[in-house]
């Protein structure tokens, strides 16, 4: 296992809503090695977007609980005050491509300037230098540098997504978080963007967290896979292990439900719905849908180490049982 760039331990993020407290991220621990990508997969509402927001510290005003340990290159980020985080960490060391970002570009500002802006704000570059750098970035993400002067509506969806990626990469971050970066794109454009991400990963030795509900897509770039369910990570490990031989019953069902084009296998399905994040059930949260449920499952299992880099949150693989 290569050196860890990001190490997250016992991360909590709860929100206050008028319906109750949403326990979006509930004691999540994982790591991302240098130059590698971790796929964070799960169904909608499992808390994966919240986990990303927690790492880059973009918290809403109704945050109820935000604590844990986030270490970047050995440095504890949680100890850094907000203003310093904004100046030194966010976008400079950790950058993010948000869900639907391609539709959230400012429609009245040229895309070149939107990419150059972080340089002007954070690094104090003057406009000419910043735009020059933006031009370089455009080439790197496969866009013609002439597009600097275009407005978002003049570009197609795929091109806009490249702009957003350029915007995230412009300050050479060490870690790039991507939240459903291709969900609104056509299949052929999706393939183009994934190829781009693979190239960027290689060229910059970039670490990535790739968040998606599409496991086949995650396998297109991830070295490690983390499966999230009801605010918690239930399985985490190298992709060739987790994808081919998943250990957690939920991971097994999830992976078995993927329709496969090239293999003749009927996709299975998992009946029921995941629990809500307000007042989650006690004990193992998957117990009520689990085919292997036992009496032990009334107590919440910890994340067991099956091997030093493969962890499962299930009594079948730890405790007095295995």
């Amino acid at each position: 296992m290569s050196e860890k760039l990001l190490e997250v331990n016992n991360l909590y993020l709860y929100y206050r809503t008028y319906k109750g407290i949403v326990q979006a991220v509930d004691g999540v621990s994982f790591w991302v090695p240098k130059g590698k990508a971790m796929g964070l997969v799960g169904e909608s509402g499992c808390g994966k977007s919240s986990a990303a927001n927690a790492i880059i510290r973009l918290l809403p005003s109704n945050t109820h609980r935000y604590e844990g340990s986030i270490k970047l290159d050995g440095r504890e980020l949680m100890k850094i005050p907000d203003e310093e985080f904004r100046r030194k960490i966010r976008w400079r060391e950790i950058a993010m491509v948000f869900q639907g970002a391609m539709n959230s570009l400012n429609p009245v500002i040229k895309v070149g300037f939107q990419v150059a802006e972080p340089l002007i704000v954070h690094l104090g570059m003057n406009k000419k230098e910043a735009l020059e750098r933006a031009r370089e970035m455009f080439i790197k993400v496969g866009l013609s540098p002439a597009f600097i002067d275009r407005y978002p509506h003049e570009l197609s969806g795929g091109m806009r997504q490249r702009v957003v990626i350029a915007m995230a990469m412009v300050m050479n971050p060490k870690l790039l978080i991507l939240d459903e970066p291709t969900s609104a794109l056509d299949v052929s454009i999706q393939a183009q963007i994934m190829n781009l991400l693979k190239e960027l990963k290689k060229e910059y030795n970039l670490s990535m967290i790739f968040i998606t509900h599409d496991i086949a897509l995650a396998s297109d770039i991830s070295d490690y896979l983390a499966v999230m369910y009801a605010g918690q990570i239930v399985e985490l490990g190298p992709i060739d292990k987790v994808l081919v031989d998943p250990l957690h019953p939920y991971s097994q069902k999830l992976i078995a439900s993927i329709p496969r084009l090239r293999v003749d296998r009927e996709p299975e399905f998992l009946p029921g719905v995941p629990p809500g994040l307000i007042n989650p059930p006690k004990g193992c949260r998957f117990a009520n849908r689990c085919p292997y449920r036992m009496e032990m499952c009334e107590k919440e299992p910890p994340l067991f180490d099956v091997t030093p880099d493969h962890h499962v949150k299930c009594w079948l693989h730890g405790g007095e049982h295995s």
Partner: protein, 322 residues
């Protein structure tokens, strides 16, 4: 061979956009499509955004009026039908892509499901209730009574889509258009809904048009597949045959662009189709795909290739095969 329920003959659906006082742009959304839909069989229409598949589905239901061509339903030419189409609506239904948008958020499930019955004159409460309960059971929502008083926002995406299906089935249709029915549902629930579609088709002998951009699902839920590009069908045949032996370069590229979950994916750069999907306002001359086609040669930019049967039941529109 089972009965032909719906037949589309050279359907063209154009939109006219007024740009300024004198200029009118023509959007050729569907530009000459002929298809047959038989009882008990599903035909998948696959293509990327802007290829016209949604417009085709709606045109076949006369939710959009075709500019030219014929719609023949149960042997009757209904293209220019001059009366009330209520009898047609009973027999031809549609399932939409976004189950949340397709349900009125202010109506309870009971109200949503009783509406089609009310429109068609059913007044007796017991009869309505019985039909609704049966419909809910058919889409596997147990126990049915529990759902009658709920509102759409209380249900999961998969449950909402089932309500939409139940609503469509209440009137006893023989032809169903399913427009991207699972694209807004979580990956793990998709297989469940598609299996439900398959079972319903079998029990009711429905003719189904399955519109999707997710080619992987067509393997499990379609008998025939039609690949659409820029308003035209460029390949057509039995699903297994086309997926195993794609002939058209576009079909080949489309299949290549879709990842199966495989830990080796991250090491490979996927071959992609360069460029963007075409603009339906100004399609390129000759074969619409020739601009992006790696195999283009002389006639491709001058004439449009006709759809020809190249193998048994397998049709392609490409000069490579004539």
């Amino acid at each position: 061979m089972s009965k032909v329920i719906m037949k589309l003959e050279d359907i063209r659906t154009y939109y006219y956009l007024r740009k300024g006082l004198f200029k009118t742009l023509v959007v050729k959304a569907v530009d000459g499509v002929s298809l047959e839909f038989r009882a008990g069989e599903t035909t998948a229409i696959v293509g990327e955004s802007g290829c016209g598949k949604s417009t085709l589905g709606r045109t076949s239901l006369k939710l959009i009026e075709p500019t030219s061509g014929k719609i023949i339903f149960e042997g009757k030419d209904i293209t220019h039908y001059k009366g009330d189409l209520k009898w047609f609506r009973k027999k031809a239904q549609i399932i939409f892509q976004d189950p949340f948008q397709a349900l009125n958020p202010y109506h309870s499930i009971y109200r949503i499901l009783s509406e089609p019955l009310e429109i068609f004159g059913e007044r007796k409460r017991e009869v309505i209730e019985e039909k609704i309960v049966n419909a809910l059971e058919e889409v596997k929502m147990h126990p049915p009574e529990e759902f009658l008083t709920k509102y759409p926002h209380m249900l999961s995406g998969g449950q909402r889509q089932r309500i939409c299906i139940a609503r469509a089935l209440l009137l006893g249709p023989i032809y169903l258009v399913a427009d991207e029915p699972v694209s807004m549902i979580d990956a793990s629930s998709r297989a469940e809904i598609l299996t439900l579609f398959r079972n319903i088709q079998k029990s009711r002998d429905l003719a189904i048009m399955y519109i999707t951009h997710d080619i992987a699902t067509t393997k499990y839920f379609s008998d025939w597949i039609a690949i659409m590009y820029a308003g035209k069908i460029i390949e057509y045949g039995p699903t297994r045959e086309v997926l195993r032996n794609p002939l058209h370069p576009y079909t080949k590229a489309l299949i290549e662009a879709v990842p199966d979950p495989d830990p080796e994916n991250r090491f490979k750069i996927r071959p992609v189709i360069p460029g963007e999907p075409p603009n339906p306002i100004n399609p390129p001359p000759g074969c619409r795909f020739h601009v992006r086609c790696p195999k283009r040669f002389d006639p491709c930019d001058k004439k449009e290739p006709p759809l020809k049967e190249v193998k048994k039941d397998h049709y392609v529109a490409c000069f490579l095969f004539t």
